[in-house]
């Protein structure tokens, strides 16, 4: 990689040298050197900025694995991942209920949020008159800007008592988490899939309409398939946001480390587990929380890998 950067730089230098040859010969040397110095300086600055992200990812990954993997070794991978009991006071660390909790909340939010978000995107890109979409867009952008703790607090004082009133059981539940997460991932899904839909060439739709297809048929049979890779990218981003969300979920999910059997059961997610107990934990308990981070990390990596492949394939097809 370093070598290719060097060759690139050489070619670049040569090109700019040639461009200057026709200039005033007396003034040329000094000016040229000065400009080249600025060029190099900024090129290095950009490169340095780009490195920060890579270094940060590497540092975080190494840190999590170094602090978490020993605990998995001590507890045992099987006992840790499939253990059904989380009881730090008795040194029992099983995160299976938390894995299920994270998957159930994220899955539920995707199940509701993706169709809702894609439909909103279709409405805004295809159906709504400009005046109406000019009203909806800022509303959705505002939704994206609300801090997660505010979502959580709203959930705790409005949503949770509502669920408690209708179904009982306290209201802190998987359902509450799903509703909150659905609202939180909506902006991402709407924005990304709307951009994808608008990027579909106009001729596709016109061709479809010319062949006698109705507007709705055109949307479902032509536009969405053509925008598939963008919509999938929206789903990936939505899952990432939902599975990583912590603060809002802590406030509404009830945080009981048990496998939920119903929508009204309380759940604890992996992120909530880490965030709630990190403040006090020490020894094996603390290591087990880092280990929870390792499992979460593995999940997100696997998810990204699978969905990346899917989006690529979808992109190739269209």
């Amino acid at each position: 990689m370093e070598a290719s950067i060097e060759t690139y730089r050489k070619v670049e230098n040569k090109m700019s040298e040639q461009a200057y040859i026709s200039r005033d010969a007396n003034n040329f040397e000094g000016q040229h050197q000065k400009r080249m110095r600025t060029e190099t300086f900024f090129r290095r600055l950009f490169f340095l900025s780009a490195t920060v992200a890579i270094v940060a990812v590497a540092a975080i990954t190494i840190f999590i694995f170094v602090s978490g993997v020993p605990a998995i070794g001590k507890i045992g991978l099987f006992d840790f991942v499939f253990g059904q009991k989380w009881k730090p006071s008795a040194d029992i660390y099983g995160i299976f209920p938390m894995i299920i909790g994270s998957l159930a909340a994220t899955g539920g939010a995707i199940l509701v949020g993706v169709p809702m978000g894609v439909f909103t995107a279709i409405f805004m890109a295809e159906i709504a008159p400009d005046t109406l979409s000019r009203l909806i867009r800022p509303a959705i952008e505002l939704l994206a800007g609300i801090p997660s703790v505010v979502y959580g607090f709203w959930g705790l004082v409005v949503l949770v008592p509502l669920i408690d009133k209708i179904w009982g059981g306290g209201g802190n539940s998987l359902l509450a988490a799903i509703v909150i997460l659905t609202i939180m991932i909506l902006p991402t899904i709407v924005n990304v899939s709307e951009a994808a839909l608008r990027a579909v060439p106009k001729s596709y739709g016109q061709g479809s309409l010319a062949l006698g297809a109705s507007k709705i048929e055109t949307i479902f049979r032509v536009k969405i398939p053509a925008a598939k890779s963008g919509v999938l990218a929206a789903v990936v981003l939505g899952i990432g946001r939902a599975i990583g969300e912590t603060m809002a979920v802590i406030l509404v999910a009830g945080n009981t480390p048990m496998i939920p059997g119903a929508l009204t059961d309380r759940i604890r997610t992996m992120t909530a587990n880490i965030a709630m107990e990190m403040g006090y934990a020490f020894g094996l308990h603390q290591e087990a929380l880092f280990a929870t981070g390792v499992i979460l990390f593995v999940f997100i990596m696997a998810l990204n890998l699978v969905l990346n492949r899917m989006t690529h394939r979808a992109g190739d097809e269209s």
């Binding site: 705790l156 004082v157 306290g170 009830g254 945080n255 009981t256 480390p257 934990a281």
Partner: protein
Amino acid sequence: MKKRVSGLLVIVMAVLLFAGCAAEAAPAAAESAGGAALSGTLSVAGSTTVAPPAQALADAFEARYPETRIDVQGIGSSAGMKMLNEGGCEIGMASRELKQKELDWGLESIAIAYDGIAVVVHPSNGVSDLTKEEIQKIFMGEITNWSEVGGINKEILVVSREDGSGTRGAFEEILKLEGDEGSMVIESALIAEGNGAVKANIASKSQAIGYISLGIVDETVKALQVDGAEVTVANIKSGAYGVSRPLNMATKGEMSELAKTYLDFVMSPEGQKIVAEHYIPVVD
């Protein structure tokens, strides 16, 4: 002009000189109060609950007697008492009464503060008095309906704190909710992060019961009487309110001059003011 400047200088120097004398006078007075110059190292070890005020007290003490060093270690009440008995430290800290075994070792304790925990329910809850045993059974999941303790027919929702929380630790210790298998609080309990989140949950759920620090009780929740005693500072001090515990400092045998002065400082009005930043002081 020059004269005026030098005159000013003299005044400034004089003021500085007097300030210096005043600053020196204070420790001299303290020394004379302690008999001889107080110096040396004092080791204080025990409860992690008592450690924060003990450390704050140590900092203030060291500021007054610069020749001394107070080492505060939070290692747990039982470990602290054991260390004290074996001579590893001169003052032990315990967030509970001393056990008979420890008294038999010849340890003597003095309460430096009290720590109270309020058991709270929704203001609309008809129940306003529970016994310690009833509370214990509710949190263990043996009593599951409010009608079993004189309330309406509604399932009880237990709200607890995250594992490792000091308030949870104290609550479980006082109500004997700690078994060989760790915490005995019902597994399906709602877990809220922090005193504030517990309060918010209780305030919005008519069937919930939880526990919070005495200091943050307000009108959004109802604090229960325990064994007929209301949760007040007076009842905690007298021992009438059961969900509380004394925070003790313990010694063994003859104390050194330094240990004695430190304990006197802890019990002095100034020391108790520092204690009050963390817990309920013994002396007002």
